[in-house]
């Protein structure tokens, strides 16, 4: 496991790397080159969107308290790192051998695994180094995860500090443009917090239904989707399970559904993926098939 963050993926706007796709403008003769790869059916159904999908090939990052890799509900991890501060206060990215310091990361991993059993899970632990400095640890962890190019990053974390908001916003946009979907828990209290409020992320609140695949589009943002978050049986420490509630459990439900869709339609951009979620939401017409 490398201690340093891996270099960022190549810039997809670089003409040398990608001569086929005009990125910044569309010359008259280039329209044919931006034909959309996905053939969208007349009506987007759940069957088209993720029917038969297991999430295979999709990499999901759990940015949280760590994950118990050997918990039966998790089914193993691709890898686990912890973001820690060294003596000079510099961030280090080290292999995580602690597991989970709370239980919450394991719960999220278990929910994603239950929906997308063949998706690959990676844990980035951003908790445990104290509350002080947790902002830079969180930002560092998110930046590391975005640089790795995960397909989905599940984040049940938020900050209320405005001076972190700009940096988080930049990171959320970078993720969006490089096809990394950031799924973040909304606040259910009247406070300004980030990054869930940014439109480049998928923000999730809770409904009270019990079906894990039931989700709703919210026509009154900033919270964009509601998923199962109340009285959910989740994996917890020491191989146990508990019954638990909170938006932070609704979030991995949407992350899992995203993994299912992306496994079946890997060419989707985050914008297209969000559109698929919209079209397949229970209150839009996706509840049935």
């Amino acid at each position: 496991m490398a201690n340093e963050p891996a270099p960022a993926p190549p810039d997809e706007h670089d003409e040398d790397d990608d001569p086929g796709l005009p990125a910044w403008s569309l010359p008259a003769d280039a329209a044919g080159r931006i034909a959309i790869g996905v053939e969208w059916p007349e009506r987007v159904t759940r069957d088209w969107a993720f029917g038969g999908s297991t999430g295979k090939g999709v990499r999901v990052c759990i940015l949280d308290s760590g994950v118990e890799a050997h918990h039966p509900a998790v089914g193993g991890l691709e890898g686990a790192i912890a973001v820690v501060k060294d003596e000079e206060g510099e961030l280090e990215f080290v292999e995580d051998t602690e597991g989970d310091l709370c239980g919450h990361g394991t719960a999220c991993a278990g929910i994603v695994h239950s929906l997308a059993p063949e998706a690959s899970l990676f844990s980035v632990r951003v908790l445990g180094a104290g509350f002080k400095g947790s902002g830079s640890v969180l930002l560092g962890g998110l930046r590391w995860a975005v640089d790795q190019g995960f397909d989905v990053i599940n984040m049940s974390l938020s900050t209320t500090k405005r001076h972190f908001a700009d940096l988080l916003h930049e990171l959320a946009d970078s993720a969006y443009f490089q096809r990394t979907v950031l799924v973040a828990s909304a606040h259910n209290m009247p406070v300004e917090s980030y990054p869930w409020r940014f439109s480049s992320v998928i923000s999730v609140g809770s409904h009270e239904e019990t079906d894990p695949l039931t989700f709703f589009y919210n026509p009154n943002p900033p919270v964009e989707f509601f998923a199962r978050g109340m009285s959910v049986e989740v994996a917890w420490l020491g191989g146990s399970t508990i019954r638990s509630s909170g938006n932070s459990f609704a979030t991995p439900h949407v992350a899992g559904i995203c993994a299912l869709v992306m496994a079946k339609h890997p060419e989707l951009t985050p914008f297209q993926l969000k559109s698929v979620l919209y079209l397949t939401a229970n209150n839009v017409g996706g509840g049935g098939a």
């Binding site: 308290s65 310091l101 709370c102 239980g103 919450h104 908790l127 445990g128 180094a129 104290g130 509350f131 002080k132 947790s134 969180l138 049940s156 974390l157 938020s158 900050t159 209320t160 500090k161 405005r162 828990s185 606040h187 259910n188 209290m189 009247p190 406070v191 917090s193 809770s206 009270e208 109340m230 009285s231 917890w236 420490l237 020491g238 146990s240 399970t241 508990i242 019954r243 638990s244 509630s245 909170g246 938006n247 932070s248």
Partner: protein, 218 residues
């Protein structure tokens, strides 16, 4: 100067005790409304970077005040750092949780609700309600109620912290704010005419201390 006069007044009026009583009342009402076994407020001690029991209602009330634990592990630590509420309804066998819970609450709860205490941009601490009766699944309505208590507790905790800071300034005779605090106390005792003159002088000093306006152009 207004803040320092308020600081002097706050110290004189013993507001710290009043805010402690307010916080205690909040945990007692929270416990009663949810019919829970216990309820507590943890303050984040910034200097030590630890969570401290500040108010407790119900089981363990006496011996827990002042007890400390790490600020970013366990359920309360997770809630403080992530600023997300977390409700655990049915804990099954989990020795690690049981040990941590016993250390931090005095007993092993079957369930707990934990919510961050947010004031402006800051996370001041955590409110916990332990062992609400298991009559029905936890509802969004209860989550909202918990949030309302958290708002109230956050305001009380903020006031308590301010009162403590004010007292610290007044008590610390050699400290940075001590000279200002002494000035404020003397100012409050002056007869009106002289006080007005000193006020004018202080206003002039304040103008001198104003930072230059920021360039607001694009």
């Amino acid at each position: 100067m207004t803040d320092l006069r308020a600081a002097v007044a706050a110290g004189a009026l013993g507001s710290e005790e009043s805010y402690r009583a307010l916080l205690q009342s909040i945990v007692e009402v929270a416990r009663a409304i949810f019919g829970a076994r216990a309820s507590s407020v943890f303050l984040h001690d910034e200097a030590a970077d630890e969570l401290v029991f500040e108010a407790v209602a119900g089981e363990g009330a006496e011996e827990l005040i002042g007890r400390r634990f790490p600020s970013s592990t366990g359920v309360a630590g997770w809630v403080l750092v992530t600023r997300q509420p977390l409700v655990i309804e049915e804990l099954q066998e989990d020795p690690r949780f049981a040990r941590e819970a016993a250390e931090s609450t005095g007993f092993v709860p079957k369930g707990l609700m934990a919510v961050p205490l947010l004031h402006d941009e800051r996370a001041l601490g955590v409110l916990e309600v332990l062992d609400r009766p298991q009559q029905a699944a936890f509802s969004l309505q209860e989550m909202e109620l918990l949030g309302l208590f958290a708002n109230e507790a956050a305001i009380a905790l903020d006031l308590l912290q301010r009162a403590r800071e004010a007292r610290a300034v007044l008590e610390d005779e050699g400290g940075e704010g001590a000279a200002l605090a002494r000035l404020a106390a003397k100012l409050a005792e002056l007869e009106p005419e002289r006080r007005e003159a000193v006020d004018r002088l202080l206003e002039a000093v304040e103008t001198l201390l104003e930072p230059p306006a920021l360039d607001d152009s694009l």
